[in-house]
């Protein structure tokens, strides 16, 4: 890794960490959901401050260059996050469906009760 890339990475990782933390605070994201992003920004920071870690892992895995290793790691993390999000969306859709049905059914039952009463 060149020194220039390292400096850029450090700056970018600090900025992104700052960005993520302020946004999380402002938008009141649940702790569970913000955890991933905090860890993610910490990871970028570690990689940029101690590139030796990444270099070592790159060497062990026999990957051509450190940058490739970083790509691999981040793409993998992002794909896992996408997968978890897709599960979550699916669960949310199901909850919305359940709620919609509950509302519609209880309205119907109310109406039937009223008709019986009158």
């Amino acid at each position: 890794m060149t020194d220039f890339l390292r400096i850029i990475l450090i700056i970018v990782s600090f900025l992104s960490m700052y960005f993520i933390i302020t946004r999380i605070r402002k938008s009141k994201v649940q702790i569970d959901d913000s955890l991933f992003w905090i860890l993610f920004s910490v990871l970028i920071l570690i990689m940029s401050i101690f590139p030796a870690v990444a270099d070592y892992l790159t060497f062990i895995l026999g990957i051509y260059s450190t940058v490739n290793f970083l790509f691999l790691v981040f793409i993998f993390l992002i794909i896992m996050k996408m997968f978890l999000m897709s599960i979550k969306i699916s669960q949310l859709e199901n909850k919305i469906k359940e709620l919609t049905q509950k509302i519609a059914l209880s309205e119907k039952f109310n109406e039937e009760e009223q008709r019986k009463g009158s």
Partner: protein, 243 residues
């Protein structure tokens, strides 16, 4: 026997009146319920105007969500069987009775089939239907000649299943899954009308996607689902008493 005819309706204002009128005429002994699936036309006004029995979904849930609402209603109101019926005049109400008679012989699901006696003539739609038929045949061993038919009758144990579980869309993949769990399914010959008004849920690209989804679902995904035997549930004391 308490039977409920479930009619999911999304923007069916033009055809709904005719459907309900013929339904009341041909089978007055069964109750019906319309599920207005967040229609953006005046489906709901028509239901109110003529005093139809209707559940109004506040947002659009799609065919399966709407149908499941009707099934939940049937479950909570303790119906013995439920019939899935289209709101666009494609289905003929005079076949409901024979289907229910067949259901009473101890089946879990009766499918109103267009092709039990007549052969499919080859069009794109029947090709898709044949592919699904084949997929069900090789995964379950049972031949369902008209798996995409939207006219189906369900007994009490099926109502319970559909009302309380996730991933029970009224589609061929659920049928395949239920067969593999030991549900007894039979087809009864019916004839259907061509769609007279409104827009089908399926156009060309959607049909292709639908086929793909069903294929993957029947051939692959259904194998990963949990399977408790249904035969046990519906043959049990509770199931027999009701019948």
């Amino acid at each position: 026997m308490k039977a409920l005819i479930v009619i999911p309706a999304y923007n069916e204002a033009e055809s709904l009146k005719e459907v309900v009128t013929t339904l009341k005429e041909k089978c007055p002994e069964y109750n019906y319920i319309i599920i207005n699936d967040g229609s953006i036309d005046n489906t709901m006004e028509i239901c109110k105007k003529y005093g139809y029995n209707v559940i109004d979904l506040p947002v659009n849930l799609g065919l399966s969500g709407a149908f499941n609402t009707g099934i939940k209603y049937a479950y909570l109101r303790n119906y013995d069987c439920a019939i899935q019926f289209d709101g666009d005049n494609q289905h003929d109400a005079s076949y409901i009775k024979p289907m229910l008679e067949e259901l009473n012989k101890g089946y879990d699901i009766i499918i109103g089939s267009r092709f039990t006696n007549t052969r499919k003539n080859l069009t794109l739609r029947t090709l898709g239907s044949s592919l699904i038929e084949w997929a069900i045949k090789i995964t379950t061993g049972q031949r369902i000649k008209d798996p995409t038919s939207g006219m189906r009758a369900f007994n009490k144990s099926m109502i319970k299943e559909f009302a309380n579980n996730l991933n029970y869309d009224p589609e061929p993949d659920t049928i395949a899954y239920l067969i593999r769990r030991g549900a007894r399914i039979k087809e009864v010959q019916v004839s259907m009308n061509e769609r007279q008004s409104g827009e089908s849920y399926l156009n060309f690209s959607k049909s292709i996607f639908y086929m793909f989804k069903m294929g993957v679902s029947i051939l692959i995904l259904q194998f990963f689902r949990k399977k408790d035997s249904i035969a046990k549930i519906s043959h049990s004391k509770e199931g027999r008493e009701k019948r």
